[in-house]
Symmetry: C2
Subunit: 266 residues, 2 copies
């Protein structure tokens, strides 16, 4: 068997998220069907993804790995997958990687972007599938001031859907906002990992400060909680896109990182 890294993107609008669910259309489900066509049912095994995106969330920089029978398609794998996959999911690159590469556990960080518009007319039609329309004017400086207190390592219990026996401690290495020339606000959030709905909860809290309904220090003040806060709005999934996953260089570093992360999550 050969381990292959797949770099892919999808329009999350018509997917019930990444993970296979019976009776639902999911990205892993569609990818699995295409791989079964190429390698025979069960020929490709161990499909593992860096970021298990929720229903409606998009990706331009998703990464997964899969083990396939020794390299039977070579350089034509991307073209073959393009012919088999539906147009709302595309594999950009397929790369043979060492067996120690683990798309999930070797990852150093995930980067997401969240797009919001506060224009009086709402979201631009051609961008409406990837942009949340916020009904009040938002102050960019307040957004960025409120974001400062959320960076670093914290217990994000207030911003996480609770899972039994799972830590809610995460390290946010980047959280900032910019306004594009067309007026759209873009949040960039990078962390070692995220718990479920965490980015959408952080964005919701920041927007409540950014539009003046909460004090600028309110989002960071919630970090003292040990449970999910029901005052935080979880904004819609369609504004959210997974844009990049970072990995260390070299076989040793990949293996080491995978071991550290497996222990941390267990």
């Amino acid at each position: 068997m050969t381990r292959v890294r797949l770099d892919l993107g999808y329009d999350g609008t018509d997917f019930s998220g990444w993970a296979v669910q019976p009776g639902r259309r999911t990205v892993a489900g569609e990818l699995g069907l295409a791989l079964d066509r190429l390698f025979g049912a069960g020929g490709a095994t161990g499909l593992t993804v860096a970021g298990r995106t929720d229903a409606g969330v998009h990706a331009t920089g998703q990464v997964c790995h899969v083990d396939v029978p020794d390299d039977p398609y070579g350089d034509s794998l991307v073209r073959r997958l393009a012919g088999l996959l539906p147009p709302d999911v595309r594999v950009y690159r397929a790369t043979v990687v060492p067996d120690v590469f683990d798309a999930r556990f070797s990852a150093l960080s995930r980067r997401y972007e969240y797009r919001v518009t506060d224009a009086p007319f709402g979201a631009e039609p051609l961008a409406r599938r990837t942009t949340l329309a916020w009904p009040r004017p938002v102050d960019l400086d307040v957004l960025n001031a409120a974001a400062v207190g959320l960076t670093g390592q914290h217990d994000f219990a207030a911003y996480c859907r609770r899972k039994e026996h799972a830590t809610t401690i995460r390290a946010i290495s980047r959280l900032d906002w910019r306004r594009l020339p067309d007026g759209v606000l873009v949040a960039t959030v990078e962390a070692d990992a995220f718990c479920q709905a965490m980015v959408r909860s952080l964005v919701g809290a920041l927007l409540m400060a950014g539009d003046g309904r909460r004090p600028v220090d309110w989002p960071a003040s919630l970090l003292s909680r040990t449970d999910r806060s029901n005052e935080v709005v979880v904004v819609g999934p369609h504004g959210l896109t997974l844009v990049a996953v970072a990995y260390p260089e070299g076989v040793d570093a990949l293996a080491e990182r995978a071991e550290v992360t497996r222990n941390l999550r267990a």
Copy 2:
């Protein structure tokens, strides 16, 4: 009555073009319904557009005008239209203009963009509604070399759907291609006006040269024809977006331009 200029955009995917057609969903149809709700049936009259886009063609810089009862909504017109229009059409700005402003006849030029990808995996999922997937590699330098001979004033009969008693002489002031960092090719085409399917025919001919199946001087050589060429591929409407319409400054210039254009088209 007050003349109002509306700047608007739409996702053409689910529209049968701009113009009202019985039993079809069109942009003018949806806009007319919203104006009827605001001003009463027949209260807003003379809806006139700069560029009558075909089915499936998008706009981010469309302009139209309409005459409404004296300014009853003032600055709130954009918000009111946003509440009444479907999400695939948005009015960005509403501006009171002098009566001599004519969205169609006062226009100096229209600018379109056409997006094409020649990536082996096809169109990026989130861009697939606005980007044509071309199955062969395309050479940017050849595209631009072939485009040079098409600029200026010519009889574009080879590139026009024939209409009785209508001239096919047009003046292209700009036609060039660029490749974006993500690999997508964008053609920018600007002219005083376009006949039906002209941009899509020009792009189709240029792509046939750009992928090496026709000589670089072939697109310009067709200008010697007096009839539509059936060798020219009319590429799909979804790659095409009307991005800008230019008008002269000042009341006198607007009126003068409208008179010149009306005589030219008649």
